[in-house]
Amino acid sequence: MTATEERPPAVPARRGRRTGRGSGGSRLLNGAIGLLLVGGAIGLQTLYLSENDYTAPLTYVGDKGANVDAGRFTVRLNSFAVAKAIQSSSKTMATDNLFLIVNASAKSSLKPYHLGQPVLLTGDDRRFAATDRVDSGSTLAAAWVQPDIWVSGAFFFEVPASVLPGARVVFGLPPSALVEPYRPEVEIDLGLDEEGARKLAAQPQDVYSIVKK
């Protein structure tokens, strides 16, 4: 009672119209809410996407052996192997690194597509394009991917053995002249840890043949 009697003469003089709202409790609350809003705003800044992230494709992630549906097409990574050389009908190509041969199957949803050459995404996010030493006509990229008809084929990478742990293969559509935001892509983890990668790289095939019989 005494407090309400004493305040009115003092408060109007200092704070004008905000009479009665400036009690100690609500000032603390306002401060806390302010801090929360500032904190939230600063927190949101960490979610800020760079221009490169904005323009990146939409990635559908899956595991080896599973059908990964990217809307327009579905990809399954069946198996992979490494080799020291690849034999085509005209020559045998050797390498100081390793050839990684990825066997995949694909189908589409509504209309026929070609797949583009895939990219090998390493554990430290470097991107290896599929090798151009193997003619793309010998890869799955040459086949039409049609609705509900699975086609299978191989893709070829040439990579140092050191990038195999944590590597993922990213399948997408071939590059087009038309700029299209959020094109779908499928990212499939090879499931190789340090140990698995070392074992795989220690026993490469001598020659992997792509000659059609």
Partner: protein, 219 residues
């Protein structure tokens, strides 16, 4: 505290401020006399065979320049002679890049972000039908890719006519790359370090490389 010491600080302050001003003016004056903060336009460093140049996206060793005779492929074909420029190129970037082609004219160079595009000027010039042919050798097999973290032997070559003598040396003006947002498009990517001069982008020459031509056939 400030009240009692005010008597001492009072006369000292007018000394400190002009002294600072004088120092600042001197620094600005000296900087201006030395040509301002703009980078001094020096002649690019001269390099020769065996030198290594950091081009930002690539670390490049200029191995040599040589004359290579390619034997006839069949009894009807003739042997061919090529002037070859040999580079060991390590891709320091995060993704595979194509080798590209040297620019047909130096003023078109700045648009390229590929290795061969950084060979802004190759002197002497060769006729248009002589090349350049650009490829990389991987175990005697041709490729046109530079994979990240991998060193690749890149060859730029020109075909020499029957009686044409190769030049004694080849001089290359080499540019470099930087990772930044584009001129009009905010996406970040590798592009050639260049300046706008009179409405045209002119690549900045990082080094001038002179390669004496090794000619085994001439001896």
């Amino acid at each position: 505290m400030t009240e009692p010491s005010g008597g001492h600080d009072g006369p000292r302050r007018p000394v400190v401020v002009p002294a600072l001003a004088l120092v600042a003016v001197t620094i600005i004056g000296v900087t201006a006399l030395l040509g301002g903060l703009e980078e001094a336009s020096e002649a690019p460093p001269q390099l020769t065979s065996g030198a290594v140049l950091d081009q930002g996206l690539y670390s490049t060793r200029f191995v040599e320049s040589r004359v290579r005779v390619q034997p006839a492929e069949s009894t009807f074909a003739e042997e061919k002679r090529f002037l070859e420029l040999v580079f060991d190129v390590t891709n320091l970037g995060d993704e595979t890049t194509p080798i590209g082609l040297p620019p047909s004219e130096p003023k078109l160079a700045a648009t390229s972000s590929f290795f061969a595009g950084s060979l802004v000027k190759i002197a002497p010039t060769f006729p248009e039908d002589a090349g350049p042919f650009v490829f990389a050798l991987n175990k005697d097999d041709e490729t046109r890719q530079l994979h990240p973290g991998v060193t690749t032997k890149v060859i730029v070559r020109y075909e020499l006519k029957d009686t044409e003598q190769p030049p004694e040396k080849v001089t290359l003006d080499v540019a470099a790359f930087e990772y930044e947002a584009g001129f009009q498009d905010p996406t970040e990517r590798w592009s050639m370090i260049s300046e706008e001069v009179g409405g045209e982008l002119v690549p900045e020459i990082k080094a001038r490389v002179t390669l004496p031509v090794r000619d085994g056939t001439r001896a």
